[in-house]
Symmetry: C2
Subunit: 250 residues, 2 copies
């Protein structure tokens, strides 16, 4: 039983809140029953589970960890609190091996979502979840985009970042393979009239600044709005990804 | 020029961070160029604008306030910081009259979005923005739902809470007037096959718990997912609201 947040092992796990340490160590901490349950179900590599001696609603995931032969370490509430990215007390956590972020050229994608310059990790995480739900193959992350394995991104993805393929890319890698649509509130084509036949990529930039990179030859797609000026990026991505899904699965 | 956050007027404005004070006083503070710009464009009642002597990117909204005869009070960065709900420095703020939240029976709605038990004000705000963008008439808020005028909700709505009609309601008020669809990951009808002819209401509950109230006779609608278990409520609302919009504006 580890009771102190100053325990060296716990301190080394806390360092994973930093992107540099996550990348170097190739692992991250996820906290909360729902996320630990998701990483187990999605088959992510779990090195260990940390749990309260009485994990309450976390009992089922602790049992699942036992079944899979994953070491379970008993820790205090203070330890879990020190590892969590949210204030709500969490009865369990897991140390998860990060899937490799491979170059996009090595991914034979047909249906791709691209994050180009999203600064808020919650938006990146929500995009991962939506792309995964809508049946895309992969999410490509361009430079100047928040880390999809940032704790807030992992939480917003509800664990989908451990299930959907995540790749790194430059615009030319995407353009070389398929048709590319940039989401843009004043885009040239109504989203109901765009051609989503694979291979197809949907690119989402930040709400304020749009796509960060230059996308020569790509076309822009708009979602008409009645009242408000625009949708937030999470809402726009859901509408576009599901419109594409409609074209694939009539 | 007010330089101290302890100035009594500033203290009274800071009290508006609490729901009780907002309701009693019927006003709220919004901060940031984008939100102040939105409340001015949406024609909300603005009592005063607070601005840095050199508001930088906020210059245009200060000029607009002058044009409309709205008093502009010069304040220090520390004062604006003490009023803001975010850490990013904001060069302007506005004191806005809250639109009345009327009982739904008095609203002749045809297209309604209902928030039933959403606890996170950011989700309520995002729902307001999506409903407004998709051309709904009003948003009804049921008991046990976060305040749509909470600072985080106002920000997530991008000011749409001052443009879209907001009403209070009980389930029976909604059911009495039109067809009602409850968003539900395991709903009975595929969202592409639901009947959205007005008067129609779409009900969104919390992600974890679903709709909070009982909705006798209402039907449930689902958005199929390929990979992830479900969409977040913001994404689900965008897909459903835009599917309804498609039925209205072919």
């Amino acid at each position: 039983m580890i009771t102190s947040p100053r325990n060296p092992h716990i301190q080394s796990l806390r360092a994973l809140a930093r992107r540099k340490d996550r990348t170097e160590q190739g692992r991250a901490v996820v906290t909360g029953v729902r996320l630990v349950d998701a990483v187990l179900r999605y088959g992510a590599g779990v090195e260990e589970v940390l749990a309260l001696a009485d994990p309450g609603p976390g009992r089922a995931v602790v049992e699942e960890a036992h079944r899979r032969g994953i070491p379970v370490r008993w820790v205090s509430g203070r330890v879990l609190e020190s590892l969590a990215d949210v204030k709500t007390p969490q009865p369990v956590a897991a140390v998860v091996v990060l899937p490799p972020v491979v170059p996009l050229e090595t991914v034979g994608w047909q249906r791709l979502v691209v994050a180009d310059g999203l600064q808020d990790p919650r938006n990146v995480g929500a995009l991962v979840r939506t792309a995964h739900a809508a049946g895309f193959d992969a999410l490509a992350v361009l430079p100047n985009t928040a880390d999809p394995f940032h704790p807030a991104a992992v939480r917003a993805s509800a664990g989908s970042c451990f299930a959907l393929r995540i790749a790194s890319a430059r615009p030319q890698d995407v353009l070389a393979r398929g048709r590319v649509w940039l989401a843009d509130p004043s885009g040239e084509v109504d989203y109901r009239e765009a051609d989503y036949r694979p291979p197809v990529a949907l690119v989402f930039g930040s709400e304020a600044a749009g796509a960060r990179h230059v996308w020569p030859g790509a076309r822009t797609v708009r979602i008409p709005v009645a009242g408000a000026e625009s949708l937030n990026v999470n809402a726009a991505a859901a509408v576009l990804c599901y419109e594409a899904r409609r074209a694939w699965t009539p």
